[in-house]
Symmetry: C2
Subunit: 228 residues, 2 copies
Amino acid sequence: MLQMYDLAGEDPALRFSPYCWRSRFAAAHKGLPLETIPWRFTDKQAIAFSGQGRVPVLRDGAKVVHDSWAIAEYLEDTTPMPALFAGGATARAHARFVNTWADTILLPAIAPLIIRDLLDAVAPQDRAYFRESREQRFGRTLEELQADRDTRVAGFRQVLLPLRHLLRVQPWIGGAAPSYADHIVLGTLMWPRCVSHFELLQPDDPVAEWQARGLDLYGGLGRSAKRV
Amino acid sequence: MLQMYDLAGEDPALRFSPYCWRSRFAAAHKGLPLETIPWRFTDKQAIAFSGQGRVPVLRDGAKVVHDSWAIAEYLEDTTPMPALFAGGATARAHARFVNTWADTILLPAIAPLIIRDLLDAVAPQDRAYFRESREQRFGRTLEELQADRDTRVAGFRQVLLPLRHLLRVQPWIGGAAPSYADHIVLGTLMWPRCVSHFELLQPDDPVAEWQARGLDLYGGLGRSAKRV
């Protein structure tokens, strides 16, 4: 069976990595059983075999793949159906724009809305590392970063404009059915969902309606995930 | 031959609509000859046969298609090769995210950097309409909108992050070869290129390098376009 190292909180059932969720949705899409191994930021040794220090790391027998995009490509190439990128190379290339948008725009827009909540979700042994590395990256305390989120959330919702307009004309980013492009964004949104009770979306937002459908995919994989 | 109503300046050779350029690149990609008919904002009557008042409007014999996305789909469905969305429905669905991103994020980010220059490019009979409609939309004068662009351009370049990261890992948005997703963004960038001398991109930006390759496509269609 496929094994994947998956970021966890103190409760090993709490899984909240936006990248690991992309891979979990991708494996579920293909109907591939996936054993997820709880991992914490300070467990660098446990994944040293992958040659780097971040999750997701996928093990398929002797084969090791890290990085969520590489894992999606690996799954697609080894188990072509049901396709993550139906029709091939162009669908895949276009999905990668969704991936870079999620990484460079969506994640940084979510972070300052939930990052102090996130500190409470990470395992106790990870908290010093988490606070120090994130405060260094952003140049502010986690408390400062999350301040005034009730007013700032309007700006976040503007960031979703391209997705909102898309979902007014088609039910999934992949068109008539979900593709890996949906998993990228659904997976990214599992991150705030699992660690915070802060409402990022208004209920009548087409993005919220799409997310609700996405949470029900694959037997409710997203919907049943542990939350704080 | 295909005919397309195409926004023009006083000089009918000056064509600067970001939407019309998407369609011109798409037709060129397919090797389809396209007669472009210069049109101005105040020529609503000339395209009334399309049932609406905006360009591009494509005529293919008795068939009339308006809206750049609908034109791309029409060209793809009537002349499948060379494909704009190789592999089919998923590539097309994913490209539509690039289209909504260009419409809701990229175009509004470019507008305040070039909109006063644009006024000088539109035909004299269009200028009152252009100034009034745009100043009403943005709630500021065109001069105010374009002020301080030398400092604001840094923010614009941030908007391109997802594209920049993408073009570090693949030569085209379409992957190994250009797709309609490339035409969407190249076409959008023809708009500032044709009406302004303001430099939106730094020369070592991967986006600028990709744009340079795009300008050379189809016999230099973009490169040879008339500029102010």
